[in-house]
């Protein structure tokens, strides 16, 4: 599948890719350098139907350490690769899944209050799901093959596969 974007479309998509990548990279790095950060609070307060599963993750210190490690490095790698345009499609989907995991812990449904909600008022839709949707778009309209390292890995001029 060979996509042709107009210059404006390509600029818009690459800009979106960089913005989302920047955000995820900073989320990951800031957690990495914070000796006190842990996902324990987030997991143990989680709501909705996955609550018991997520809470059980927080209860075991070894599992929790694993969750924290995977979370931090997923954010850093996904963020870096999005900015660089490396394996764009794969990391877009990965990022989307990661964000959906955050979302299901505290979906802003009627009757569910999240202590971690910030930056506005949300009903069903919050920033997490918006960012996940953005990554879905980036996966469907990949740009790494045009502006990004994917251009060197995959045949030039073609989107990553």
């Amino acid at each position: 599948m060979n996509m042709k974007y107009t210059a404006a479309q390509l600029t818009g998509l690459v800009l979106l890719r960089i913005i989302v990548g920047w955000h995820l990279l900073y989320e990951g790095l800031s957690k990495l350098i914070d000796p006190y950060w842990t996902s324990a609070g987030y997991l143990s307060e989680s709501k909705w139907i996955f609550a018991s599963l997520l809470r059980s993750l927080a209860r075991n210190p070894h599992v929790l350490a694993g969750v924290d490690f995977v979370n931090i490095w997923s954010l850093i790698i996904i963020g870096t690769f999005l900015i660089a345009g490396l394996f764009t499609r794969v990391v877009s989907y990965s990022g989307m899944i990661l964000l959906l995991l955050y979302y299901i812990a505290y979906p802003p449904l009627v009757g569910i209050e999240s202590p971690f909600a910030a930056g506005g008022r949300h009903l069903l839709i919050n920033w997490t799901i918006i960012e996940a949707a953005a990554l879905f778009v980036l996966a469907l309209f990949p740009t790494g093959g045009m502006i990004g390292v994917d251009r060197l890995i995959f045949r030039h001029g073609r989107p990553s596969e």
Binding site: I18, L29, P35, Y36, T38, P61, A65, I83, A84
Partner: protein, 519 residues
């Protein structure tokens, strides 16, 4: 390679076009890190605090290589069972429940204190039998081998004279503490006595005299069950107080807020509302009453003894004693000069004698400070311990926060420069943020929020009672210092009894330091 790609300059430029973003990112990121560090350093150097220690504090007490200590437990009610758990002995049902909830591991990781519980005394057959199951259980932390034989004593008098026992833990209702503690130390037994150390003022002096004499003549080690100070947060709070970061402290506010029947000592019913076991045949009522006024057997009094003056001092001895101990150890308050207490029975119209809403104000003119305690058993609105100084105030519970005062003299410049924001904590300390454990019951939550249950050592959540007992055992084996010795026990119990006396006599009471009496 045949399909070797040839990249044009255009390809290279387009492939690497976004890489400069990393430069900008790195620049901004490092700027942010440097800014945060600078701000933190500016605050910490001003306060002469080192960078907050990581969440893990290494245990400093010696290893338990000394001889095994043979313990006797008097009273195996709820607290007796908790003490046994802290020592490494638990009931199979409790273990199974913990296992189901994924919470057994921290307990199994608890240090083996190298003790044997060789004797148990409880007036209630059911609890005495239960205690034996607990003590004989084979699943223990470390390689502690449970004793096969545990003797059930029919009287505490036999236990204190027994040669099979080195040390005694008293976890009975408060009115027995003094008699039992005195009997035990007179026989040269080390004693760990639960709070409140005594029920009456007069008993304080008798226990003090007996313990001091036994310390001198028999080398007895006596510790009161005020475990709060073992909390890591508390140790950091002490550093903050010692460094006078708060400025001149003139007001200390402490409180208790609970809102469950269990928290209000209505404990004769189980979770399903059924009467708990126990009758005149299975409970040695005469022994239970001891020297208390004779009354017919009463299950209500047996389970809910905290509600009656004959057996305890209610909020003052049960909960305030911890609060006073905390403030006393932070600030070295000693005994207050005066106390005014008030309150009433406003919610639990169940025939209780002790108030369910209770407040006490203590004055320390020498220290130029007031300590205020406020308690309710009918509202669980959380109120943290707060130490208020001219320059800053400190909230202290499971974590601690220090906020600069908007009108502080010392931090004026830092507030003006935006380095310190009064609405946000200047110093914050949250121990063990790398791990979490679930806390279930409301009463447990009450204690946990006040730092009475858990603290962190070596990255593990550790029961503070375990640490407090360990400190006592270390002192028995190696003469190491105690955090709640008799002197602290006297100060705390006198403060509690001042509040009780003031409430019961509806008047301001004072401490006469010369005659050493509450007047």
């Amino acid at each position: 390679m045949e399909n070797e790609r040839k990249y044009s300059r255009r390809d290279i430029i387009k492939a690497l076009a976004t890489l400069p973003v990393f430069g900008l990112f790195a620049f901004e990121f490092l700027k942010k890190v440097a800014y945060d560090r600078w701000k933190k350093k500016a605050v910490l150097s001003e306060l002469d605090l080192k960078r907050p220690a990581p969440a893990v504090v290494t245990r400093t007490s010696p290893e338990h290589s000394g001889p095994q200590v043979r313990l006797g437990i008097i009273g195996f009610g709820r607290r007796g069972e908790q003490i046994a758990q802290s020592l490494g002995f638990a009931h199979p049902d409790w273990i199974a429940k913990r296992k189901r909830n994924n919470r057994l591991e921290p307990w199994l990781a608890q240090k083996d204190l190298n003790v044997a519980i060789t004797g148990i005394f409880d007036v209630f057959d059911v609890r005495a039998g239960y205690a034996q199951t607990v003590i004989k259980n084979k699943i223990n932390p470390g390689d502690g081998s449970p004793v096969e034989k545990v003797k059930r004593y029919r009287s505490y008098r036999d236990m204190v004279t027994s040669d099979d026992i080195d040390a005694i833990i008293i976890t009975t209702p408060d009115f027995h503490h003094a008699t039992m503690a005195i009997a035990a130390v007179n026989e040269g037994k080390h004693v760990y006595c639960e709070k409140c150390m005594t029920r009456t003022e007069e008993e304080v002096y008798r226990v003090e005299a007996a313990v001091k004499a036994a310390e001198k003549s028999k080398g007895v080690v006596f510790q009161v069950g005020h475990q709060t100070t073992q909390n890591e947060v508390f140790q950091r709070a002490k550093e903050i107080c010692d460094k006078e970061i708060l400025g001149k402290i003139t007001l200390v506010e402490t409180s208790s807020s609970r809102n469950t029947p269990d928290g209000a000592w209505v404990r004769h019913l189980d979770e399903n509302g059924n009467l708990r076991p126990g009758d005149a045949r299975s409970i040695d009522w005469k022994e239970w009453l001891g020297s208390a006024p004779r009354v017919p057997f009463s299950q209500e009094r047996f389970y809910n003894w905290s509600k009656y003056w004959d057996y305890a001092t209610g909020l003052s001895g049960q909960l305030f004693s911890h609060e006073y101990d905390a403030a006393n150890q932070l600030l070295g308050l000693g005994i207050p000069l005066s106390c005014v207490a008030s309150g009433g029975i406003y919610y639990y119209k169940d025939g209780r004698e002790i108030p369910d809403v209770f407040h006490a104000t203590f004055e320390f003119p020498d220290r130029e400070l007031t300590l205020f305690y406020s308690a309710s058993l009918a509202s669980s609105r959380p109120r943290r311990r707060v130490l208020m100084g001219h320059d800053a105030w400190m909230e202290l519970g499971e974590y601690l926060n220090v906020f600069a005062d908007t009108h502080s003299t010392r931090y004026r410049a830092k507030i003006r420069d935006g380095i310190v924001v009064p609405s946000r904590p200047m110093v914050s300390y949250q121990p063990g943020s790398q791990g979490i454990d679930a806390i279930t019951s409301a009463s447990e939550q009450y204690y946990a929020a006040r730092g009475l249950i858990y603290t962190y050592r070596d990255g593990q959540r550790v029961n503070v009672t375990h640490l407090h007992l360990q400190e006592w055992l270390d002192a028995i084996r190696g003469g190491t210092p105690l955090s709640s010795p008799i002197e602290a026990g006297v100060e705390v119990s006198i403060a509690c009894h001042m509040a009780t006396k003031s409430y019961r006599e509806s008047r301001r009471v004072e401490w006469d330091p010369v005659r050493r009496r509450i007047v």
